[in-house]
Amino acid sequence: MWNLFKAEVSYNKWYLFMILAMPLLFAFGMQYGFKLITGVDFFEKYAWSILVGLGSYMFIFIMWQMRHSERRNMQHALLPIPIVDIALARMVFGVLPFAYVLVVLSITHQLLGEIIEVQLYRIFAQLGLLFCGLAFIQLMMDIWSLKTNMNEKNWFLIIGSIGCLIVFISMFAVFEILIPAYRQLFREGEEWMFFLWGLILLTASNFVFVKRSTFLQ
Amino acid sequence: MILNLTDLSDEPLQSQIIRQVRAKVLSGSLKAGDSLPSIRKLASSQKISVITVQRAYEALEREGLIHSRRGKGFFASGINSDTKKEMAELRIQEKIEPIIKNALAEGMSIKEIETLVKELLKSIEG
């Protein structure tokens, strides 16, 4: 698995470098108070943050687009590597830049911005949201790949199981009602739940990946 | 062992191998006890499938021209001059028969064919 991950990192090193550099650019801009847009209060304050955020996501998007168009999963599935390892390498590679950007952005924001207090649980919550997003994209890709190589009966089964999965996950929301104790441990605990959801969804997406009936994409 | 095989002949590859190996054994360029290349070696060097060589070797073995020793491969057999002669006769018969039949079908008489063959032989001798 690490061999695959290393190859991905090395292959995308320039994109990753840009993603690393962007929050630092942001910190620099904030530090020296360069104004990109003057006059509008909101943009004066957040222009750097917005630009850097969008920029980073653009690079992450390019990397995933490339991964998909070069049929990386198919290439890896043909090598003597268990499919589980491919799923894990894909997940780690997807999660890392997201996590990095978010953590660095939040910390810089909190160090240099107006919020003084470092609220770590917020980072977790936002990370969780991102994980959910990533897992969702992966699931969609996997399901799409299933659809293109399935007869109707199996396709129906897959849709059914995904439906059940969503209902199951939604039931976690019930916990929110039952968590006064939980709230005492983590302030605004429901935000933290996103992290858990993210992990669950990522695991689910890995499971679906391993059970894929095709590795042609 | 070098064979000259072609896809452009009507003769199938298998028969080409049989004919050429047979000629080598009968002419003595392969002596009794000389080893032949293994089936896979010959297939690879001549760019033909293993099954083709295998069938050809089997046919040659049936003719008594080569024999196999377990784990050692194939070897040319010793052929005495009587057998050689018999084989040559058989081969001539096989070749000439359809030609004569063809000539008869085209309206030549036995007599005419006989004269023709005699003249041919004379010119070859001379």
Partner: protein
């Protein structure tokens, strides 16, 4: 010894297309030519074989092991050249080979270099800049350099020039010198594999029409011409018949029995010629639909 490939009642279905049930084996030491027109299911068979697709029912075993994509044993025994050549596009050929090499214990850098030389490939070139033929070459090198026990080739000659084709065929003949190696070779161009294959399998519209030894096929199929005043001949094995006056030209898929039948009808003056694999393939794949009369 275990079969190199064993298809057991394998079925793969898409909406509107069904492949199988496939039931056949390939023994080590043999080359099997998998012949069929475009869209007959050749590539799908290859993809089921390499674990890229999961069959709906039945299974495939490779050297006795079911081809579960989560198991690595069987994967390291095969070399596959598919219809799509996938690489890290912005890396050089050499870099791509280096990446792949780390997953195969039996990989030989020396062999890879030798193949690069023989196929005349510029290893320092970026994959994205390679022509179609050169991509195929890189795929072949990648499939051959770990000395696989089973080579699975899906129309591997596509885009190669004649010189490289001939060099590639030479390499395949070298591979099969080792009697533990097997080659599964799919193509729609039969001349490509006429000399190489020991066995031939014919696939049409998702089902296997015939699998047999090449020499048997060549011996059984003949074109026979003869004369007969009787126009109502019932001959066994005939797949095509042309009549003009008293002259007959027939194609048979069972020479022995057709000949016996002709002799029983005391028809002599028979001339016979063999058919090429290409001719035979056309007849098998058309399914004997063309018994015609002139």
């Amino acid at each position: 010894m275990e079969d190199a490939i064993q298809f057991e009642k394998m079925i793969k279905e898409f909406s509107g297309f069904k492949l199988g049930p496939l039931n056949f084996t390939l023994e080590p030491g043999k080359v099997l030519g998998y012949i069929g027109p475009n869209g007959s299911g050749k590539t799908t068979t290859m993809q089921c074989l390499t674990g890229l697709l999961r069959p709906e029912s039945g299974y495939v075993k490779i050297f006795g092991e079911v081809n579960d994509p989560n198991e690595t044993g069987w994967k390291s025994k095969i070399g596959y050249v598919g219809d799509k050549h996938v690489f890290y596009e912005n890396w050089s050929c050499a870099r791509n080979l280096k990446f792949v090499s780390q997953f195969y214990p039996s990989w030989s850098d020396k062999r890879a270099e030798d193949l690069i030389k023989r196929f005349d490939l510029d290893a320092n070139k970026e994959v994205a800049k390679l022509s179609k033929g050169n991509r195929a070459k890189l795929s072949l090198i990648q499939a051959l350099a770990h000395d696989p026990q089973l080579l699975i080739l899906d129309e591997p000659m596509d885009g190669l020039d004649p010189v490289i084709r001939s060099e590639f065929t030479n390499v395949l003949f070298e591979v099969i010198e080792n009697e533990e190696r097997a080659i599964f070779y799919s193509t729609h161009i039969t001349s490509e594999i006429g000399r190489l294959c020991d066995e031939l399998a014919f696939l049409d519209n998702g089902s296997l029409k015939l699998k047999t030894e090449k020499e048997t096929l060549l011996e059984k199929w003949r074109t026979i011409s003869f004369q007969s005043t009787n126009h109502d001949l019932k001959l066994p094995g005939v797949v095509e018949q042309k009549v003009s006056g008293n002259e007959f030209i027939i194609k048979t898929q069972d020479f022995e029995s057709t000949l016996t039948a002709l002799r029983e009808l005391s028809i002599s003056d028979i001339t016979e010629t063999r058919l090429s694999i290409e001719d035979i393939a056309i007849h098998i794949l058309k399914g004997g639909r063309n018994v015609e009369s002139l």
